[in-house]
């Protein structure tokens, strides 16, 4: 077993004291930036690149990978406790996680996220070590037509999975799709719906929208409801740790999340957010307790959290084997490789084997460190919820505002007065979030529409352009056909069930997830 020997050598590299230290710095920093909305792993790695210029390649790459893994983990904490997703990949976690936290089950929610992330990170890193080449060829077989079918499947399952009323869910989804049209059209370079504002050329930032709808909207809703003294949030009810039932309900979602996240992370246009949406829909379908979804189902935290960590490892597959960065963080890590004169690609495993296996082994170590670091902190984190609500929400506002300014420092001039554009958008969408809550529309489909809409549109147009307008190209491969069939099943099955008089069961599935 050649791979085992190489991995063993890698572990020897990883356990060198200085590399352990780099991994520790990486995961700590990564967790910290994951917690802050707006400041992501990409920016952190970019800031650190010049600093690491004089360090040795193995050490700094290990640190970068630690930041990446840590960032994926850190985002879940604020999602669960404060309903403020730090990254787009943690949006789904907020749905069930925050409901759990409000019922005093924040501890188990954080624990299943931490352990799920660990399990997924472990399996996916092993996948990176052993089956990277076959995963790559699968991921590359996804062209525009397959992406479009995948997006279609995501739309069908996600819009069915959110909200009590299909009409309200779809209304929210279309609001998101409309927001997704804003900006420069990627295929023709023409600006759409920008109203002459150059700041809108790159479209609405997903993080800004998510933070505004979730955090600002919720703060406004709380402030408007005059309930400050009435509702008591129980910070901790029962054990802070997961009980036997929690374990029983978590382990399958962890594995399913990993199975969904790893290959989707390896796809050039996939990503952690898409895999977390799909994992959420999958858990909802597989769950024996679908009625709990929307009220704090632990599966809805376990699956997506596993999926987003697995997809972080998945991203490294094309990066290491093809030199193909599929996320912003991966692009900067690629720049890091180049800074040390290394060219990731088909030859990297042959020319720099010790470095690559050291990196893979360090990921295993970093993953373990994250678990050790974070599990004991859970007790501390859940105390956040005991902070009196006015203080807590004031804190959330500060947090959200700072994060947004950090992510978008551009200013625009309205009638000669400089305005922080990102902040203006944040407040505007915060009002929208309040309105949606006030009138009972679900929040998440808006964000889902903003993320998936542009991807679906682009894939469809690319596919048709390549085939010079022949629509049969959309079904040109088995993968595409299977995805289409799945999407239609997701659309028609509920209708069929309803016709057979099982509508009652279905309406119980319906929930309101804000």
């Amino acid at each position: 077993m050649d791979t085992f020997a190489l991995l063993g050598q890698g572990l020897v590299t990883a356990f060198e004291l200085q590399n352990l230290l780099y991994a520790l710095i990486g995961v700590t920093l990564g967790t910290a930036v994951g917690v802050l909305p707006g400041i992501g792993p990409a920016l952190t790695v970019a800031l650190l690149l010049p600093v690491t210029y004089k360090l040795d390649p193995a050490g700094s790459l290990i640190m970068f990978a630690g930041i990446y893994y840590g960032g994926m983990y850190g985002g879940s904490t604020t999602s669960i406790l404060l309903n403020t997703p730090g990254e787009s990949a943690s949006i789904v976690t907020a749905l069930e996680g925050n409901k759990m936290a409000r019922k005093g089950r924040g501890g188990p929610a954080l624990a299943t996220a931490a352990i799920g992330s660990f399990v997924a990170g472990l399996l996916a890193t092993l996948g990176l070590a052993f089956i990277a080449p076959s995963v790559v060829s699968f991921a590359l077989s996804f062209g525009p037509a397959e992406y479009f079918a995948l997006m279609l499947l995501a739309f069908m399952t996600v819009s069915a999975a959110f909200g009590d009323s299909t009409l309200r869910g779809l209304t929210s989804l279309f609001l998101g799709l409309a927001l997704g049209l804003i900006g420069i059209d990627q295929l023709t370079g023409q600006a759409r719906l920008v109203f002459g504002l150059p700041n809108l050329f790159d479209g609405i930032s997903v993080t800004t929208l998510a933070v505004a709808l979730f955090a600002i909207g919720e703060t406004l809703a709380v402030a408007a409801s005059h309930q400050t003294g009435d509702e008591k949030v129980e910070a901790v009810k029962g054990s802070v740790w997961m009980n036997r039932e929690d374990w029983r309900r978590s382990w399958m979602p962890w594995l399913r999340g990993t199975a969904i996240g790893f290959p989707i992370g390896a796809m050039p246009a996939g990503g952690a957010d898409v895999s977390s949406f799909l994992s959420y829909s999958a858990e909802r379908n597989f769950s024996k307790h679908p009625e709990e979804f929307g009220h704090g189902a632990i599966e809805g935290v376990a699956g997506p959290e596993a999926a987003n960590n697995a997809s972080a490892a998945g991203t490294l597959v094309p990066l290491l084997t093809l030199g193909l960065p599929t996320t912003a963080t991966a692009a900067i890590m690629l720049a890091g490789f180049q800074q040390f004169g290394l060219q990731p690609g088909p030859l990297l495993f042959a020319t720099n084997a010790p470095l690559v296996w050291g990196l893979i082994a360090s990921l295993l170590v970093a993953n373990f460190m994250l678990l050790v670091l974070n599990l004991p902190l859970i007790g501390l984190w859940v105390k956040l919820l005991t902070i009196p609500r006015p203080w807590l929400y004031a804190g959330i506002l500060v947090f959200a505002t700072l994060g947004t300014i950090g992510a978008d420092a551009s200013t625009t001039y309205l009638g000669g007065i400089p305005v922080a554009f990102g902040l203006g958008l944040l407040m505007l969408f915060g009002l929208l979030g309040y309105g949606l809550r006030r009138f009972g529309y679900p929040i998440a489909p808006v964000v889902v529409g903003l993320i998936l809409g542009p991807m679906a549109e682009k894939s469809l147009r690319q596919a048709l352009q390549i085939s010079q307008g022949n629509p049969s190209a959309l079904f040109h491969s088995w993968i595409a056909i299977v995805l289409w069939v799945l999407a239609f099943t997701a659309l028609l099955l509920p209708l069929y069930l309803r016709m057979r008089g099982r509508g009652k069961v279905l309406s119980q599935f319906g929930t309101d997830e804000d």
Partner: protein, 316 residues
């Protein structure tokens, strides 16, 4: 909250690590972290600091709209300030036209062209297209049947594809150009046999070409590139040469002496060992061109770009 406080402390320590000394140059990278302009700005930062040309250099990212957001902010806020610089490049020339940008390169003070990357055309190893002549033949017989995978619309990749079509007598509006979000995504489409040919910077394809999974048809340089076994477009009978250059520019409204000081600093940086090492590591060609020669070249590029973008139909 303790941990998040620490996060703040660590982050601000990181940020201030670059700015603890007396501020000298401030460079705006009008792009997100990780891209070519960001890397150029950060490379300048380390070269200027390492050689003591400037005690401290700060890089700020102002991403968006092909660099025109950063450019607008620079024109508005840096006017007359001899310590502020902006990085830009060929893509900005096209973006200003396609976005109808209210600010243009005429409003800033170009200092020098620093680096360039050449465009390359590749096909999958199994493709029936063996060389540039084969591609030209296919393009002439049915332009739509050749799908070109490259980076975002209106960028260097699409402009090059349009110029090639024009040079061989094919209507540029007939070019079936498929824009992907970036060179990486385009590379995946080429490796996955989704498009006929790939067109992007050579560095995007280098490792695949060396590994033999992609066949390099030609590159866009004037002379053959050392270590690259492919003809130039001109050698292959297509009269096109283009480079995706990157430049540094100073603020509007600075005096001639101030401009001379900045030019001297940049000149010193370009000749430093640190800069040469960075270029070698990143595979960037040294296409340093300063002063009036650069301004003249810039004007030529702007005119040619405006013409081809109109012919492709991206600019009215």
């Amino acid at each position: 909250m303790k941990t998040s406080l620490w996060a703040g402390v660590i982050l601000s320590a990181l940020v201030s690590a670059g700015s603890a000394w007396a501020a000298d140059y401030k460079i705006i990278a009008p792009a997100a972290p990780g891209g070519g302009w960001d890397q150029t700005a950060r490379s300048m930062q380390s070269a200027l600091q390492d050689d003591g040309i400037s005690p401290s250099v700060q890089v700020t990212n102002v991403p968006g709209a092909g660099g025109t957001i950063g450019l607008a902010q620079f024109v508005n806020q840096a006017s007359g300030d001899p310590e502020q610089l902006i990085v830009g490049g060929y893509v900005m020339v096209g973006a200003i036209l396609t976005n109808n940008s209210p600010v243009t390169l005429e409003q800033i003070t170009p200092i020098a062209r620093l680096t360039g990357e050449y465009e390359a055309i590749v096909v999958p190893a199994a493709s029936e297209i063996k060389d540039m002549a084969g591609l030209v033949e296919k393009l002439k017989s049915d332009p739509g049947s050749v799908s070109w995978g490259g980076g975002s619309a209106g960028g260097t990749d699409q402009i090059t594809a349009g110029l090639i079509a024009k040079a061989v007598g094919v209507d540029p509006t007939k070019v079936n150009y498929i824009a992907f979000s970036g060179g990486g995504e385009a590379l995946a489409a080429i490796l996955g046999n989704q498009v006929t040919v790939g067109i992007s910077s050579y560095s995007e394809f280098a490792s695949q070409v060396q590994a033999g999974t992609l066949r390099l048809l030609a590159v866009s340089s004037d002379e053959r590139l050392t270590g690259v076994e492919a003809p130039t477009f001109k050698e292959a009978g297509v009269d096109v040469s283009i480079q995706n250059w990157r430049m540094v520019a100073a603020a509007p409204g600075i005096s001639d002496e101030q401009k001379a000081t900045i030019t001297a600093d940049v000149d010193k940086m370009v000749k430093s060992e640190a800069w040469k090492k960075i270029l070698a590591d990143k595979g960037w060609a040294d296409t340093y061109l300063a002063g009036d020669e650069f301004v003249a070249q810039l004007k030529k590029d702007q005119e040619a770009t405006a013409t081809i973008l109109k012919e492709i139909g991206l600019v009215q």
